[in-house]
């Protein structure tokens, strides 16, 4: 069973501060991490002992780095679609590339990706990829399991505190919930071996996938950024007089 996990490198939230007054983001440290929910998706894939996980990432050096981390954690294969750092893809571009990657690999039974992305709203990639492939998209996935005879099963949340084991009956794309599992630590020897192996991460160019940059240019452009107003803390009212006090406060506001 071949599981493809899509990884995105995002800025480490500990490496920047948001100053609302100045309407600015200050980068304190240039550090990138695997998007946290993608790390949970990788773990969900690695937990299927009968499966083989291929990690894929699109982008510049940071994408290559997250793929080496994925290999060290246990992914059997990693594919880096190398793009210039300065050419960010939007969800449409990423979908087009991933569709070609799946065609390139040949047989993929399941695509896992994090249900939320930290740095840009690319949570559309999962559903759009499923639509492009004409595969079902499963949301709220907590776990992946190998099912006897039925291929891969997904544990999805049906309602608060209730989970259901579902099978797509064929290949599917699934959005894995952040913090639904505890990502494993990579063994030290594997880190050293894989980082010293230049073939640990396979590289693919857009040309090899039959694509070129203009085809992938974003449909939208970013004109500027602004920040929502800061939320202020509420006030606790206690005692018998609380309803009257609340009414008074509401009337005055």
């Amino acid at each position: 069973m071949n599981i493809l996990v899509v990884l995105r490198a995002v800025r480490d939230p500990a490496g920047f501060t948001v100053n609302r007054k100045a309407q600015k983001v200050f980068i304190n440290r240039e550090r990138f991490i695997i998007n946290p929910a993608d790390r949970n998706a990788l773990e969900a894939g690695l937990q299927v002992t009968a499966g083989s996980v291929t990690a894929v990432a699109l982008g510049g050096e940071t994408a290559g780095e997250v793929l080496r981390q994925a290999r060290a954690a246990g992914a059997a294969r990693a594919i880096w679609v190398r793009l210039p750092d300065a050419a960010p893809l939007d969800a449409g571009g990423a979908t087009a590339v991933l569709q070609r990657v799946i065609g390139h690999i040949g047989s993929v039974d399941l695509v896992l990706l994090g249900a939320e992305v930290l740095d840009a709203d690319l949570a559309q990639v999962g559903p759009r990829l499923a639509a492009a492939l004409d595969w079902p998209f499963m949301e709220e996935v907590y776990q992946t399991r190998a099912l006897p005879e039925a291929g891969l099963g997904l544990v999805v949340r049906a309602a608060a505190g209730e989970y259901r084991l579902a099978s797509a009956g064929g290949p599917a794309v699934a959005g894995v919930v952040r913090d639904c599992n505890k990502p494993r630590f990579a063994p030290a020897a594997r880190i050293i071996t894989l980082y010293q192996d230049p073939r640990a991460v396979e590289q693919l160019s857009l040309a090899e996938l039959g694509l070129d940059e203009p085809q992938l240019s974003p449909a939208t452009t970013i004109r500027g950024e602004s920040f929502p107003p800061e939320r202020t803390l509420g006030q606790m009212l206690a005692g018998d007089d609380a309803p009257h006090e609340l009414a008074r406060a509401l009337k005055e506001s």
């Binding site: 780095e65 080496r68 981390q69 060290a72 630590f185 990579a186 063994p187 030290a188 020897a189 880190i191 050293i192 071996t193 980082y195 010293q196």
Partner: protein
């Protein structure tokens, strides 16, 4: 000159740091209070390769070299000094003596288990009558047939109560003494005649068990000699030389943790209507700590690089241990002052950090011994030899 870590070492640090922050730091107070690290945590660390970080992969190690090992010790000591001491004694001196001078047969027999943490090692040098004067050891090894019989005591042995293997120095030829008459052995602690004493009650490092070791005519086969008969003292001194580098790395961790804790506190704590970070008296302490830590970091990692590239490192190794232990004690003490009364609270990390740091000026060669080592290397360059 390139002072950057290799990508594999950066990734290794990241993994170890996450493990330490998530699994070790939250339990450090408990380890100090109960005097025991959870064996399940140690097993997990073994599975991740943390018990054999520097050694070659053919012996079951991670192949991360001395630099990788220093990274491990720095991160461990930041999170839990007791655990870092268990690992330091296990890798830095016990397994290291075997790795440096053991026969291929002996290394293949014991190192895979040591590297995976399935067996824990201890290093037996100090005796009731021999501390800084390591050459004064009395533990006797007598050859009878194809075995040696070991008789005597070792004292203050880190990991003593939990060790499965002890690398021990014993006198094989009393006429020659330490120089030419001492031999190094690997002893399995379940062999008849061996016993470990009760864990000592120490000021700090409560989770790192220390004890006396009793050898009552313990039969050790000849194959378990590390290196050559009569040259055990050389093996032990070589091991201690290299161990000082990683011990310096551990003290670097302790000192950095004190600075990190202080940086968080000075931002959060206000007095006279402003955060104490705004006070010059606090700023000076922070600056002194940062400068000393940076100097130590440069020294430790440069010395690790000397080791990994096969260059001479003995003088620098002594400096790592000397400068490191004193820097850590000073930095933790300053951090305690910055934290005021909170620094003394048993609910807070600095209190045990302060107690844990003190031993680094004593074990693995007191700082007085380090000064002698450094001076002896210095004077040798101008043709002066220090008499022992």
């Amino acid at each position: 000159m390139d002072f950057t870590l290799s990508p594999e070492h950066v990734a290794l640090r990241q993994m170890i740091r996450e493990f330490c922050e998530q699994e070790l730091a939250p339990r450090a107070k408990e380890v100090d209070r109960t005097g025991q690290q959870d064996p399940a945590i140690l097993r997990w660390m073994g599975e991740l390769g943390m018990f054999g970080i520097p050694f070659a992969q053919e012996y079951g190690g991670a192949g991360a070299g001395e630099i990788g090992y220093c990274i491990l010790m720095e991160e461990l000591d930041k999170a839990c000094p007791s655990t870092s001491t268990i690992i330091g004694a296990h890798i830095g001196i016990a397994a290291m003596s075997l790795y440096l001078d053991g026969s291929e047969e002996l290394k293949h027999r014991y190192l895979p288990d040591l590297c995976a943490g399935r067996k824990i090692g201890a290093f037996g040098l100090t005796e009731p009558g021999a501390g800084s004067d390591a050459a004064g050891i009395q533990l006797r090894a007598t050859l009878e047939g194809d075995s040696y019989f070991l008789d005597g005591q070792k004292m203050w042995i880190t990991n003593g109560p939990i060790a499965d293997l002890v690398m021990v120095l014993a006198v094989t030829d009393p006429a020659l003494g330490a120089r030419g008459g001492a031999t190094c052995f690997v002893v399995e602690t379940d062999w008849p005649g061996f016993s470990a004493g009760k864990p000592e009650k120490k000021m700090g490092l409560h989770g790192s068990p220390t004890s006396l070791l009793n050898f009552d005519e313990v039969r050790v086969p000849k194959e378990n000699v590390i290196g050559q008969v009569g040259l055990g003292f050389v093996t032990f001194m070589k091991t201690l030389d290299i161990g000082r580098v990683s011990l310096g790395a551990a003290t670097l961790g302790g000192a950095s943790a004190a600075l990190d804790t202080s940086l968080r506190w000075v931002k959060a704590r206000s007095q006279f209507g402003r955060p104490i970070a705004q006070m010059q008296s606090i700023q000076f302490k922070l600056a002194d700590m940062a400068a000393e830590i940076e100097a130590l970091r440069s020294l430790v990692y440069r010395t690790a690089w000397l080791v990994d590239t096969g260059r001479p490192f003995v003088r620098e190794a002594g400096m790592c241990k000397l400068l490191g232990s004193e820097t850590a004690s000073r930095c933790i003490d300053r951090a305690l002052q910055i934290h005021g009364a909170l620094g003394l609270s048993r609910d807070f990390t600095l209190e045990h950090g302060w107690r844990d740091a003190r031993i680094a000026e004593i074990f693995e060669g007191t700082n007085e011994i380090q000064r002698i080592v450094i001076a002896s290397e210095l004077l040798q360059e101008i043709g002066v030899r220090i008499r022992p």
